[in-house]
Symmetry: C2
């Protein structure tokens, strides 16, 4: 219950400032070129001082990656929550809102989005299990709810997909229930397909491959997510 000491509070502040300066750096030069020296420079410190807060460059990167996953998941969550409280357009499916939250964050923070979904960083290995997978799961659960909410397990199990091989069915069924294992196999397949679809358009846009669409990228995206929802819903039988 003892409140943090002055030193602890200062340390926390300094750490936060370092992370923010690093994010600023990433926004300017991209994740691959992030340099400790530049971060220190931005803070008016010497590089060596950073080593009191992070044992090395990779440790700082890990924090940045983790935070980016969390911020992205938060952004999607916030988009859904806001729309739930005060629906701007009651006809807009919440999946579209969630997807647009995802897209908006990516466009607002392209370099941090790269950090997550772009080229894996040389020499940097993301921690296998941990906060990053937690944030991913959180986001997955959100989309899953908007896609499949309101359908029974039986309906989902009867979803109309191209046939799944027996080994695939078995594999999907034994995935950890905290993730996708809770869904019947055809629904998992649909989910992956939908996830790729949503992610694909965002990735193309963020990396500049759809710039020929000019100002209409947002509309194409919304259109595409609407179709996605139609397509998926059309594959789930009525109760």
């Amino acid at each position: 219950m003892s409140q943090p000491s002055l030193r602890e509070r200062r340390r926390a502040t300094a750490t936060r400032e370092i992370v923010e300066a690093a994010e600023q750096q990433i926004a300017e030069v991209g994740p691959a070129t992030l340099s400790l020296r530049a971060v220190a420079r931005a803070l008016g410190m010497t590089v060596q001082a950073l080593y009191h807060y992070f044992p090395n460059r990779d440790a700082l990167l890990t924090v940045l990656v983790t935070k980016a996953y969390d911020d992205l998941a938060d952004a999607v969550q916030a988009a859904v929550d806001t729309a739930a409280d005060d629906p701007a357009d009651p006809d807009l499916p919440r999946l579209v809102i969630a997807a647009e939250g995802y897209r908006s964050w990516a466009i607002a923070h392209p370099e941090r989005f790269q950090l997550l979904y772009g080229t894996p960083l040389r020499g940097y290995e993301a921690p296998a299990e941990g906060p990053t997978t937690r944030a991913t799961r959180r986001m997955g659960t959100l989309f899953e709810r908007e896609l499949f909410g309101g359908f029974t397990k039986a309906q989902l199990a009867a979803a109309d997909t191209p046939p799944l091989s027996a080994p695939l069915r078995a594999y999907l069924e034994q995935l950890p229930p905290s993730g996708l294992g809770a869904l019947p196999p055809p629904a998992t397949a649909l989910f992956m397909s939908a996830w790729g679809r949503l992610h694909g358009l965002v990735v193309l846009e963020v990396f500049g491959h759809t710039s020929f669409l000019g100002d209409h990228q947002a509309e194409i995206f919304r259109l595409s997510v609407r179709s996605l929802l139609d397509d998926i819903r059309g594959r789930i039988p009525a109760a």
Copy 2:
């Protein structure tokens, strides 16, 4: 008609060797870390010699990017051609074959795929118009044919999509006919959606975000492309 001189042939050979060594380098350390010195080292040359072939690092990168686009388009083309000559499974839609050609190339050359679709390289600006857009168009045309081949313009124009705004319709109609401008607007929208869908799954897989699917990524991909085809075809009215 004069055949190339000895010197010209040697120069061509040397240039090819440099490009190959650079591709090898990229395969080992990734596109961002590509260094002229390492390329020269691999060839047993000094760095300075490279400057007789490329004015600077960016020029080499441009060649590598262009070649990667071409090689990818070639791989897709080859997959379709092979299947046309000697269909391994006559029931497998050619779109699936093209898509799997795309996926296979990406998986076989993940670093070169990154070069095209991963994080844009710092300080490197791709030539706006030129060979890269040509290769992209080539690939686009291939997929377009497999998606929409056999349908009339009238059918495509009547495709069932969520409503397109008037400005979007107008914009899509005036795109250059060499690219997507030849399609009726709803078909273009469908095409973009399909392209994102296909690309998305590949990108997730290549960058390791679907590794939890283990050996089943190929099947999920095929399933997803089959669904994609169903979904699109289902939106185009009968003649």
